[in-house]
Structure formats: C-alpha cells, structure tokens
Symmetry: C2
Subunit: 147 residues, 2 copies
C-alpha cells in the first residue's frame, strides 16, 4: 500500500535484456519459439539468459505487445505483429506469415457465444497451409525471405 509512483507505468523496468528481445523480434518476420529467439540473441552477441527470454516473451504477450500461438506440436511461438485484433495465415514450410482480418468471423463468434449464453469469450483462429513459393519450389530448401 506504499504506492508512491510518480509515473503511472505498468511497473516494468526498461532493461538491456528486454530491449534486446524486442529488437530481435522486430528483425524477424516469422513466428519463433523462445528457444529460437534465445539462439538468435546469442548469435547477435547479446547475452540474455533463457529464463529471461521466456519471462519477457510472456510479459509482452500478456501486454498484447506481441502475438503468441501454438504450433501443432504445442510449442509456443511469438511474433511482433501489427496492433489490433487479427489472425494468421502461416506457411508450414517456410513459416511465412500473413496477418488477416475477418469482421464476419468476429461477428459470428460473438453471435454463437451469445446464443449459448457464454460470456467473457475469446477465440483462437489460425490457418496453416503451404505458400505459393513453397508449393512451387518443391520445398527442397525452405526459404525464409525472398527479394
């Protein structure tokens, strides 16, 4: 109860580690796991503990500043998306991700929830497929970027 905070921030402190995680996320286009991001940080010369990466990603996801979803294998993967509610079209081969919006879907979800008396609802909706390049190239060398 000794709250004497001058600036009403969220109680988070800006640290080198958090900046590093945010930076690597900004550089990556695809959804990546905590471990992959940790490896990328090491490659970039940034020394950040794995536990810190996990903690930071969770916080950012909770804040809504990044998106998190689960792969088919149940692994959590993260991505710095644009703001606002949206869903994803993800290539299984190369990981390329397209953000998509579907107002009709949002309405449908709301309607269905109401019809069944559910409140405080959330929904998860992701589409997985093979992108044109991967279907084309034959998936021999999964490429992550293209000019």
């Amino acid at each position: 109860m000794t709250e004497t905070r001058t600036s009403p921030d969220s109680g988070r402190r800006p640290t080198r580690q958090r900046a590093a995680v945010a930076a690597v996320l900004a550089d990556v286009e695809e959804f990546r796991s905590a471990q992959e991001l940790h490896a990328l940080l090491r490659e970039a010369g940034e020394k950040v503990g794995l536990a810190t990466v996990y903690r930071t990603l969770q916080q950012m996801a909770a804040d809504g500043s990044i998106d998190m979803l689960r792969t088919a294998e149940g692994e959590a993967v993260y991505r710095a998306c644009s703001t606002g509610h949206h869903h994803h079209l993800v290539c299984r081969e190369c990981g390329r991700t397209v953000e998509v919006e579907g107002p009709a879907v949002e309405r449908w979800a709301t309607k269905v929830s109401e019809e069944h008396g559910f409140s405080d609802v959330q929904h998860t909706l992701e589409i997985f497929g093979t992108c044109a390049d991967c279907a084309d190239g034959g998936g021999v060398t999964p490429q992550v970027s293209r000019p």
Copy 2:
C-alpha cells in the same frame, strides 16, 4: 508388398485396451487430457498403460474418430464429437463444450487462403468463455454436469 489381408481394415487390431479408451471417451462430455482419461480408466477398473492411452488417443485423432485441441497451456485434450467438420465453444470453468458450425467461416478461410496463394490449408478455431451456469453460480464449485 506381401499384403494378403482378407478384410481391408486400417491395419488396426481391436483390443481390450482400445475398446476401453473408446468407452471412456463415450461416457465423457468434456474435452479431457490423456492423463485424465487414464485416471478415469483406472477408476473404472480397466487396466491400461499410460503409453497405450497416449498412443490410442493419437491414432483416433489421426483417424478423425475423435477431436483434439490444445488448452491455453498447450496440453492436448480429446473428445468424442459428432462426425463432420465443426468447431467448439468451451467453458473455461466447467469444460462444458458446444459444437458449432460456421459455413461462412469456412468460406472465409478458403477465400483468404486462395487470395494469398496458400494451398493444402487447414484451420483451427476454438472459442473459450464462461457458460451461463458458471457465470451464474459464481464459479465457487465448478460443476461438470447438471440435470
């Protein structure tokens, strides 16, 4: 290439264990984890190894004879649903599950995939919320069934 099978089944053998797993699934309304189902089997007096439960559930899910989805925590949960493509409205409190269909959503997903040149697409769509009973009762005693 020595295929001399008289009855063209899927190469699966009907065993006591598989019947037991199917039976417990038929008795349960909610999505349940492999471990929970294993516990239920033990309670019911059926002796089935945990590994077998995992294997059987995976096979049934692959066959499409049961549905599998992941909780927010990433745990796989299973349910014997009606046949046909559908999605779920799941209560976070009591686990009550309603199967829902959304033709418009299916069309939207297809359209979006095509627009971006994705092929061989799948989608996951689940709605989580609090059902009327749980919102009402105050969630003091999460109940799984009700007359």
